[in-house]
Subunit: 344 residues, 2 copies
DNA sequence: ATTAGCACTCGCACACCTAGAGTGCTAACG
DNA sequence: CGTTAGCACTCTAGGTGTGCGAGTGCTAAT
């Protein structure tokens, strides 16, 4: 729907006032809006119209107007102007990321923490998705007479380990043989390829020896499967409880949602590349019906990889959140790229 | 302070009623208490006395009595009877733990989740403390021309990784040399021994080559230092927001506390072996002033290692929490022992 | 199309009231 | 001297009533 210029101006003014203060605004206060030189009665007419069209609503008859979810959507799609981030903020983000320790997981965790801190709401960050990830290397470390640890390193620099036990004594030579054989056939394979058929073929090609170590092969499979899933880090979730435009039920709902890995992962995996905004009922999950999600994917090796996201009430400073998230995502991606020497 | 038998009976009855219902109880309802055959007037006298002595208090004049923190303390120390866990519950715990994947971190995380689920409040579980932990093995995996990953495996089965980069091309032979040298001098060392002096001595003994790799040695040190710290897993923290005897401020405080790793670790590291209960102001941290913590240490290789703890309002089913935590801690310890083959 | 004026609506804050629960005190009892 | 019955008292929760202020929608004039 195309709105007349004056209506757009009024809609933007209502939304920006509401985002800033959390209070409804009425026709009188709107007269002070820059470049809106009409009487309050005119504004009242426009407000009534915007309300009928579904962009605005009144909490109750004698209150001012606040945006509906539809209003926010229109604002996000048509009215909001992308803000340019202050250089100091950019430098702050870069420094914080650089001073986190040199493990990809740490960097990603820190990225989430920065987002939460700067945007002032709960933030999520995920390790890269496994789709483009391959097995980099598998290592064995003996831990006991019958037990050993398997360490899987993926092409995106993630590490997973598994303990397994055998019925017979493990010798270093044996581990060496397995080390060589496994890496020969697995290194470079996509993680998703390491499934039961693959492992069974591998074991078969190994003859009798292969049959001896079902536990080890299960461990390999397990580790690959787990690496295929992403780790999700949550930051600043208590901030939700301080947002006064968020009632306890909704805030609790979001917290509940965040701690339920199934529904959380379902949301996250559905987010496309670039920057995405879900407002209110646009979220498929019931618990997020009163919340907004702003998410963006960072890239590793020029491929969309993991996510940076913030989540809060629908009353959200969308322009700011988008700018900060995109900045963090960019730095995070290039920092990990650098560490993995993907960009030589 | 020694209390007369009848006073003890009344105190226990008040506390147990309050734990069960969350409601204050008055003299009349207390007459129904098993084995208390006196009039309500007599009970009123006793209640007044217990109130003066500080065991009980009234939310307001016309309400019944509820326990004070001091009352809870007396109950926990003198009155509460240890409950024997139902066999089905025990089996449930064991099965849940056995079906978690074979990585110590997973088991510990699951243990926390079970505790939260069965006790119905937030739970914490930690990986073993580093005090008795030694370096088991260090592995190198090349990730790029100038970058490599270091994987540290500790004697308690934990894995830490670090990426590092060098100014020159890394060769497999070089990594092999370092692998051998590092493991020769580090394997079996307590993690705490791997500090800067140690690393410098090591580098010096290596001559020129040692000077070439400051980043690698820093990575080793970092990884050891990080392994010295414990990982803390939180489960069911949203449950705090559903406890109706917990006002929003207190619940939020606890959540805040749980997400602040510094103060959280400070609490956890101060907990002795065995089972410990902190009630209200006994907690050193301000944010826990209205909460209770029940914690117990599990053992690995017969040494007190990590923690299982639950946290909630002071209105707490202490006997149940103690019984369940101790059961979980025991199974967790022996399961990890078994995986690490410490008990052959 | 815009504006001034005005009656109207509604939520909030506050005061007020009542019912019910539980108490402490007093005096009587064994 | 401990125990008990009786009673006046206190306090909270919850319901009702009222005035204020903000903001609206409508109408008639420009």
């Amino acid at each position: 729907m195309k709105l007349a210029l004056r209506k757009q101006k009024i809609l933007a003014a209502v939304i920006e006032h509401y985002i800033a203060t959390g209070e409804p605004i009425g026709s009188k206060s709107l007269q002070n809006t820059e470049g809106l030189d009409v009487s309050s009665a005119t504004i009242r007419n426009e407000l009534a119209d915007l309300t009928v069209k579904g962009f605005l609503k009144q909490p109750h008859t004698s209150a001012g107007r606040i945006p509906t979810e539809y209003g926010y959507r229109y604002y996000v799609d048509n009215l909001m102007e992308p803000i340019k981030l202050d250089d100091r903020v950019k430098r702050y983000i870069e420094n914080r990321l650089l001073s986190s320790s040199d493990a990809p997981e740490h960097i990603i965790k820190t990225a989430g923490a920065i987002a939460s801190e700067l945007i002032g709401t709960a933030a999520l960050s995920t390790t890269p998705t496994g789709d483009n990830t391959r097995v980099h290397r598998i290592k064995f470390v003996q831990t006991g007479r019958h037990t050993s640890m398997l360490v899987l390193i993926t092409s995106s620099g993630m590490v997973k380990s598994r303990l397994f036990r055998c019925d017979f004594d493990i010798t270093p030579e044996m581990l060496n043989v397995f080390d060589r054989a496994l890496n020969e056939s697995l290194a470079g394979q996509p993680l998703s390829a390491v499934n039961r058929p693959f492992v069974q073929t591998f074991a078969a090609s190994f003859g009798e020896l292969g049959l001896l170590m079902p536990d080890m092969l299960t461990a390999v499979m397990d580790a690959c499967k787990e690496s295929l899933g992403t780790n999700v880090y949550t930051s600043g979730s208590t901030k939700l409880l301080y947002q006064n435009d968020f009632d306890l039920i909704s805030a609790r709902g979001v917290l509940e949602f965040l701690s339920d890995s199934d529904s959380r992962d379902k949301l996250l995996s559905g987010i496309p590349e670039g920057t995405t905004i879900y407002i209110g009922k646009e979220n498929s999950h019931v618990l997020l019906r009163h919340s907004a999600v702003v998410a963006t994917r960072y890239e590793i090796d020029n491929h969309p990889a993991g996510l940076m996201a913030v989540i809060g009430s629908t009353r959200f400073d969308y322009p700011k959140a988008v700018a900060i998230l995109e900045c963090i995502a960019e730095y995070t991606g290039s920092l990990i790229d650098e560490l993995l020497s993907v960009r030589q």
